[in-house]
Amino acid sequence: MPRRARWPGREHRLAIETMQEHSIIGRPVPKKDAWLKATGEAKYADDHSLPGMLYGKLLRSPHPHARILHIDTSKAERLPGVRAVATGKDFPGIKYGNLPQTRDYLPLALEKVRYIGDEVAAVAAIDEDMAEEALDLIQVEYEILPAVFDPEEAMQPGAPQLHDHAPDNISSQSAFHFGDADRGFADSDLIQEDIFETQPVKQGMLEPHACIGLWDNTGKITLWASKQSPYVVWRQLAMGLGIEPGKIRLVQTYIGGGFSGGKQEAMPMDFCAVLLSKKSGRPVKFVHTMDEVLTIGHLRHPIKIWLKTGIKKDGTLLAQHCKIIANGGAYSSIGQLSMYIPGAMLNLPYRLPNVKYEAYRIYTNNGFCGAMRGHTLPQICFARDSQLDIIAAKLGVDPIEIRLKNAAQPGEVTPNGFRLTTFGFTECLQRVVEASQWREKHGKLPRYRGIGIGCGSLVSGARLMGHSSSTAEIKVQEDGTVLLVTGSTDVGQGADTVLSMIAAEVLGVQLDDVRFAMVDTDITPVDPGTFSSRVTFWTGNAVKLAAEDARRQLAEIAAQKLEANPEDLIFRDRQVYLRQQPQRGLSFGELVRLAEYRLGRIIMGKGSYTSGEELIDFRTGYGNMSPAYTPSACVVEVEVDPETGQVTVTGIWGAHDCGFPLNPMLVRGQVLGASVMCIGQALYENLIRTQGKVMNPSFRDYKMPLATDVPKLANVEHINIITRDPSGPFGAKEAGEGAATGVIAAVANAVYHATGVRIKSLPISPGKVLFGLKEMQGKGNKPANLVKG
């Protein structure tokens, strides 16, 4: 097929260009730690053990809402093999958390429990059996309180109140208005209003939370743990223990998946591990079981989204008004930010002059919600891009045309102050239309087959309150190898590889010459962590600066030796030589030894990156959140079984502007992984809770898609749109989250085009499709793709 031959040709040309320009960057290189992980050699937190180590277990609340009247731990303490027991009273009672106004976590519950699974007590024993047996011996006297599970009920007067500081159970809210929404609606030819609902979804990382805590005689605390944002944990641990962070050393282990499933925060197990260590004088290990992981929290927010859109006859978007109510669960996590993001990015990747937004995050007696890959954007993109298709159908406009018409362009500033530097959205749309053969398929597929599009956008790292910058240190060693030290973690996304590639490119060494260190807060520089797709951009820039710093030091010495200008030197293939006379040069290793042995100059480079001093004003919602934004477009083809309602995704084609793919193999892995995750949310996943009780806390019943549930590779294509962002390292932007933000809407739109059934609540389950079809047949309607126009 000519179409297939063409794109690889283009990619091939790009590869050739890249090779000429760079020696490392832009090449598809497997992850540095792939071999270790594939052979099982990588040590995850649970693989570590220390001499004399005890095993900890947590006692959890069986009630969704209750007052703790009394806890008797004496029987548990007397059980042979038990070394220490802890309750909330063993901690100073300081609430910790993310943003100052939403700190509501305690290491262990004090007065109340607020959901089934809330941590009440902890034990450390010589083995896990003993620790579990001890849990049965802890007697907790509860006064059961009325509970509330639905956010809209929780907002009503007289509803049970979860937290004293939060009247009407409002955990956080966000509201802003840019432009003039009323005017925009008044000028509109069509106004569309819909309500969409999303479900609670779990990250599904395969490594459960795990840690080992040690509180030594000198008062120094060490925590070895699987943490994607170790410095957040470091700070929160100090906060909740009421001590200085300097007393704590946090050592990161290999991380078996992050997705903000709890590894970005201090958890009760971390507090209990160190406290029980203090009490027992021994190291204490905690490992969650998978049903604990699935029960406790950090879910993707289930949100009810009311969205009103005003549009001109020609398809120009004029105004949007959006109200959301999120079921926050029992605690805040990062909920304040979760509520800001959907409004701030409601428009992107489209141009929208007038936006009005109100968001409420409500406390309920459920496991709590936080961030998850894409944060709250997959939900809002599902609503917005579903509605865009409803509007397109009403206006008789092609879904692609309406998107092209409103596509935001580079150089634009959104009403809330986001500055779009590079933004290849139009090209995303064009390329995905071609790759998916949209024009040949849309409206032309056989009955019960359909094709749909969804789009989205993401930040390349958010500039938040508090500490935001990333730092890297480079130590060049006498054998010509490089030790790269950052505060960033590899959660499987490939940070170890990409950051090393940046250092290797700048210093002209091979990728294998660069060693990437894991976080140890005693050694590595402070870093915000791995979230909001910031590592490649922020830490990548820091690594580039650090490597350039080291190269400058080396170039100065080489220039003296070669009697040349430092600017004329090329660092490449482990050699340093003159640009005009490549034969004049010396090896990288020789140069380092010259510097270190002869001149006594140890080569260490340093670099820090932050996107500027501007902060978002969360009261008005105005400000530029990120140094760069990525748009994406995704087309999904589905087949629907009209007798069972089962939806099968048969093809997925995506285009995403990642600026420049530093490692196309890893970009592809990230994009496909994120897309499969969103196929999961679109069709299968749903953490079912009845009266606050999780009914499906296992991977048997919490259904993530398997290989049989995703399209064959022949029907999967990902296209990188190259825009080379001027402030990204080597032009790179975000790649791990954005490409999937439109997937859910694409699935919903494809199901609509296959069946005529518009599903506005997730997941798109067989029952909803089947009864939707029956309802339509009752009305004598035909599937959409049989209707002309």
Binding site: E643, N696, T708
Partner: protein, 303 residues
Amino acid sequence: MGYLRRLPRFEYLAPRSVVAVCDALAEYPGEARLLAGGTDLILQMRRREVAPRYIIGLKGLSELAFIRPQENGGVTIGAMTTVRTIESSPLIRERYGLLCRTAAEMGSPEIRQSATIGGNLAGALPCADFPPALITLGAQVKLKSQQGERLLPLEEFFLGPEQTVVGPSDLVTEIQLPAPSPLSDGAYVKFHDRHAMDMTTTGVSAFVTLDQERRRFCDVKIALASSAPTPLRAKNAEAALRGQAFTEKAVEKAAALACQEAQPRSSWRASRDLRLELIKSLTKRAIRQAWEKAKAPPDGGRP
């Protein structure tokens, strides 16, 4: 449902013969549980739903792990035969394609390697896949105890969810399948949310025998999973097809009757209404597929 925990304390008995198992059961009436593949029991114990004092491990009972052809053309399967063994047995494939295909689509390869046919029946979960397939094949179950042995049709084996006629001192020892008649075959069609490795929302097994001209249903058996507290024979649906020619109308009618016979419940996994819709769709599919397979010449039509 509690959290998954470490296994509770129990005493493990490892008898080496059926007689020894029966003795152990008689010695600790009501206090012992039989452990076959363990795919259900271990989870129940880890959730503390059951905490038996004694576990009688059956892994050592090689005398119950067999697939044996009978002189009458039938086959006997030992209760400790794993799903994987059934799936890969040439004898089962040749004589009972329905059972072979049902086995091949259960759980994951790991589960199939461990789970046994005896456990799948004795566990009596309404969503189990073997019971409907075996019922339509006309299977009988043999139980043994110190008092002796008895043989009963599988249909009469189930009393309710996780309840069977197996008494506290009984052991399921074997499953007997009658000789397959010529011009007969069956299909088990099930639905679950994902495309594989998932629990059955609803399943329908149909086994048909054609007349010599291959025009009419000579005999039909239909059994349903997850459609009632026990695996259910849809006898009205069967009767409606018996003696009829294969027509879409006849299939539709049978499916509608199966829906009337079924009594599915609503649970968080699926609503009653969805299950009824599925029973209708799957019954039609099962009958059609069974018809096609039975009609095909024996050498060419089977996998």
